[in-house]
């Protein structure tokens, strides 16, 4: 049959010639390639001293945002957990009581909110599903740990601290994609 891609290679098993059986030209060719790499530019960085600049669409560790007044945006609606293809997100909702108006934006809030970073595939669907602009994927990297249970991130690691706000303005227009 006619090949469609034109990339087809026909395998042949004809016997090797004498020069090929010596293997020396092939070894020398391989050494030459290795030698050439000595003068090439390095592809790796000396992390963490040097750090790469991330693209604005980079999807790293999650953050649960607060609004301008410092109230948590998340209302535990569960849409991120439905959208999550890896089922990494779990949460429990609670009702806001009197006196907590400065802590939570709506009458319902997430009492617990866990992301299993081992399950997470950083696809960003939670961010896209969120109707409250509460969860964003930032350009921070999830640090490596020695124990598996340390990757279960709770609200203490996910909610942004008031004294160190995390800038997500670069990602906030992602919801506008598709709109003209």
């Amino acid at each position: 049959m006619q090949s469609l891609s034109n990339r087809k290679k026909v395998v042949s098993d004809k016997p090797m010639t004498f020069v090929e059986k010596l293997y020396l030209p092939a070894i020398a060719g391989g050494m030459w390639i290795t030698f050439k790499h000595l003068f090439r530019k390095n592809n790796t960085l000396k992390y963490p001293e040097e750090q790469r600049v991330f693209a604005p669409v980079y999807r790293g560790m999650h953050v649960l945002k607060r609004d301008e007044e410092g109230r948590e945006n998340c209302t535990a609606c569960g849409l991120c957990a439905v959208a999550c293809p890896a089922e990494a997100i779990t949460m429990e909702a609670a009702e806001r009581v009197k006196g907590e108006e400065g802590l939570y934006r709506e009458e319902k809030y997430a009492a617990t909110y866990d992301i299993n970073m081992l399950r997470c595939i950083f696809c960003g669907l939670c961010e896209e599903a969120c109707p409250k602009e509460a969860i964003f994927l930032t350009d921070r990297i999830v640090p490596s740990e020695f124990e598996r249970d340390e990757f279960l991130y709770g609200k203490d690691q996910l909610v942004e601290p008031m004294n160190a706000r995390i800038d997500v303005t670069k990602r906030q227009h992602t919801g506008q994609r598709g709109k003209k």
Binding site: T75, A76, C77, G78, L79, A81, V82, A93, A94, E95, E106, E107, K108, P131, K132
Partner: protein, 319 residues
């Protein structure tokens, strides 16, 4: 028996049937949505106007089309009537306008609301609603009213369909709640804050098409699409005892009546299967129920997400 044609499908129905019920006999896409009409409750319907249809020919005797769109839930069919629902552009546009009206005062708090996922207004809004509201005024709000420790009333979400009032009138012996005031100020309330306490008052939650009346024992516990609906039954002296329990693991989060695809409670032993408050609010223990099996849920509903068994009826054995 008289013949009507709805969306090019002919059906024979008894005289006096409404267009909506004739359409439900055909089933499928031709059924107009209904927010206020509830077939198990007499005297409902005609309020929300979402079931508008176009009558292209009045009857065989008088085949002129009706000039305006009519409400299918309270218009009886006539012999030779030709009705257009899905096939009419006018119906689509007008239904969109009705949805816009319903959403004028309805808060956009689906992420908070317990009804989300099984809300008829959400479905309608998804199908017909505009992306943005054109309403510039403040939304109508009410002070929260406590109507007892089992039922939560969110007046802001109410679309005034009067279904809950019909439940109280027809299922209970003494109605303590109703609609106060008129027009823009109308609200469901109990006169001089009294609790709604009756064995069957919990059915108000089941009939409410939006999240205005919700179960306080289930309030913010979970979202409906994370739960597993199972058909269950128990010995109950007050009601049929045939319910749907919504499980999360081995815990029962809430109990509801068995609803059909129009959101109406199914008939049990020839009677509407209303359930009593004991079954609904107090039996949250798995040992009190005899679990029959998983409830079949429409594949397109968000509730069916994460439940992997396919529609069993549609699979045919190859011989």
């Amino acid at each position: 028996m008289i013949k009507v044609t709805i969306d090019d499908v002919e059906v024979e129905v008894a005289e006096g049937t409404t267009i909506l019920n004739a359409a439900r006999m055909i089933g499928g896409d031709v059924v107009p949505p209904a927010m206020c009409y509830y077939s198990k409750l007499p005297d409902t319907g005609g309020k929300c106007r979402t079931c508008l249809v176009e009558v292209a020919a009045g009857s065989t005797k008088d085949p002129r089309p009706m000039p305006k769109l009519v409400v299918s839930c309270s218009t009886p069919v006539q012999d030779g009537m030709v009705v257009k629902n899905k096939t009419s552009q006018r119906v689509h546009e007008n239904r969109g306008a009705v949805v816009e009206f319903l959403l004028i005062n309805h808060p956009l708090d689906c992420p908070v609301c317990d009804q989300a996922g099984e809300c008829h207004l959400q479905d309608l809004g998804f199908e017909h609603g505009a992306e943005k509201t054109r309403y510039e005024e403040e939304r109508r709000t009410f002070d929260p009213i406590d109507i007892g420790n089992k039922i939560k009333l969110h007046m802001n979400r109410c679309i005034l369909c009067y279904r809950c009032v019909a439940v109280a009138n027809q299922l209970t012996d003494k109605r303590v709640h109703g609609v106060l005031h008129r027009g823009e100020h109308a609200e469901i309330s109990t006169y001089i804050e009294s609790a709604v306490e009756n064995d069957f008052s919990g059915n108000m939650i089941d009939v409410c098409p939006v999240g205005a009346l919700t179960d306080k024992t289930f309030r913010f516990k979970s979202r409906v699409w994370f739960l597993k609906p199972m058909e269950a039954e128990c010995e109950c002296t007050k009601c049929s005892g045939k319910v749907v329990v919504w499980q999360f693991g081995n815990e029962i989060y809430r109990v509801t009546g068995r609803k059909d695809r129009y959101g109406e409670v199914e008939d049990q032993d020839g009677k509407p299967g209303w359930i009593c408050n004991d079954c609904r609010f107090d039996k949250k223990d798995l040992s009190k129920w005899n679990i029959i099996g998983p409830r079949t849920i429409d594949r397109h509903s968000v509730i069916s997400q994460g439940k992997y068994e396919g529609p069993r009826t549609s699979i045919k054995k190859v011989k």
